[in-house]
């Protein structure tokens, strides 16, 4: 499966008639073998870099199809190719926009914008919801549930410094790194109210951080009321319960 594996690298020589060869063909059967050669353009690019894993694609297709449905191999490969084409299609449009606005980084918003422009309007709303939930949860993970906006601004700043390629997947429920605290806005949100939305066990886990936060600024509770309202209907720790 891995192109650089010994079996495969020893494949071109004279071992062709061996059964092993057939097996290898099967694993690489798809676009890589089938039309990597014909496509030619993929010179040097490994097949596994050009397409989504076929198992994932099939799993998603199966969600839609009735259980008795069968999928031919060429249909699987075609869908697999279509997904890559889709990503390129949208990215190309998003990238054009970035260039017009003289920005270097393609953001999630650029991607959403491109989808809307290219006819995938139906996707924009669910994806926007998906993204905002993702941000909230990621923000919560770092202990920043009430400052997600400022927090993301800070992240963005850091991201551009580091080349913007990092994903920032912090381990769950870990207090934020000390440097971030220095970049917080002068006011601090009322943490004791925040606790109302937090699962007790999670709150205990985050106790260290919240202790710090409330000592820095228990003063202004009015400044943050809008964000409080936004969070009222959303339990950021729902995924971590039970």
């Amino acid at each position: 499966m891995v192109p650089l594996s010994p079996t495969e690298s020893s494949l071109p020589p004279a071992n062709a008639p061996l059964p092993i060869d057939n097996n290898d063909r099967k694993t690489t059967e798809r676009p890589g073998g089938g039309h990597g050669s014909g496509g030619g353009g993929g010179s040097g690019v490994r097949e596994q870099d050009r397409y989504m894993p076929i198992a994932n694609v099939i799993r998603i297709m199966r969600r839609i199809l009735p259980t008795h449905a069968k999928i031919s191999d060429d249909a699987k490969e075609t869908i697999q190719e279509c997904v890559s084409e889709y990503i390129s299609f949208i990215t190309g449009e998003a990238n054009d926009r970035c260039q017009q606005e003289q920005r270097k980084t393609i953001t999630a918003e650029d991607v959403l914008w491109a989808m809307g422009k290219l006819g995938f309007d139906d996707y924009v709303e669910p994806l926007t919801i998906f993204l905002s939930r993702y941000r909230e949860i990621e923000g919560d993970r770092a202990g920043h549930s009430l400052r997600s906006e400022a927090f993301y601004l800070n992240r963005r700043g850091n991201a551009s410094n580091t080349g913007g390629m990092d994903y920032y997947y912090g381990p769950p429920l870990l207090p934020p790194p000390p440097p971030t605290l220095g970049m917080l806005p002068p006011y601090a949100p009322p943490h004791h109210q925040a606790m109302g939305y937090v699962d007790p066990s999670a709150a205990a886990a985050m106790g260290t951080y919240y202790g710090v936060g409330s000592s820095t600024g228990s003063g202004s509770s009015s400044a943050n009321s809008p964000s409080q309202a936004n969070l009222a209907g959303f339990d950021p720790f729902a995924p971590f319960k039970n």
């Binding site: 870099d49 397409y51 989504m52 994932n56 449905a69 249909a75 390129s88 990215t91 998906f130 993702y134």
Partner: protein, 118 residues
């Protein structure tokens, strides 16, 4: 056309990056980078959006393709069904070349149109 609740489970897998079964973000980023020489930097959130967008896309393409399979009273979804679905759906126009041209001219259809059979 869409069943209710189609997106209802979409956030269920969000814990832990974007979920255990979601599409690989690194792969998505590679494909994004490859889509143009001038693609410079990609925000970490962009592949996350794509991971979900691709699911929606695969689901929609599969749904339309399966409708074609059903029209033909078959039980196996073939490449032709995908091609028909692409041809019948405006937003899939960008896929027309991909599904109608055989990737390997020497393989199945030297004539260039292999998408009508049965």
């Amino acid at each position: 056309m869409r069943q209710p609740g189609m997106y209802s489970g979409m956030l269920s897998g969000i814990s832990g990056k974007t979920g255990p079964h979601s599409l690989p973000l690194a792969r998505i980023k590679k494909i994004m980078k490859k889509s143009g020489d001038d693609v410079k930097m990609i925000s970490g959130e962009a592949p996350i959006v794509f991971s979900k967008a691709c699911e929606l896309f695969i689901e929609e393409l599969t749904r339309q393709s399966w409708a074609m399979t059903m029209q033909g009273r078959r039980r196996t979804l073939h490449k032709d069904d995908v091609a028909s679905a692409v041809a019948a759906t405006d937003i899939f126009d960008f896929l027309v070349n991909l599904v109608s041209e055989p990737p390997n001219a020497d393989e199945d259809a030297p004539g260039g149109t292999n998408n009508i059979e049965h």
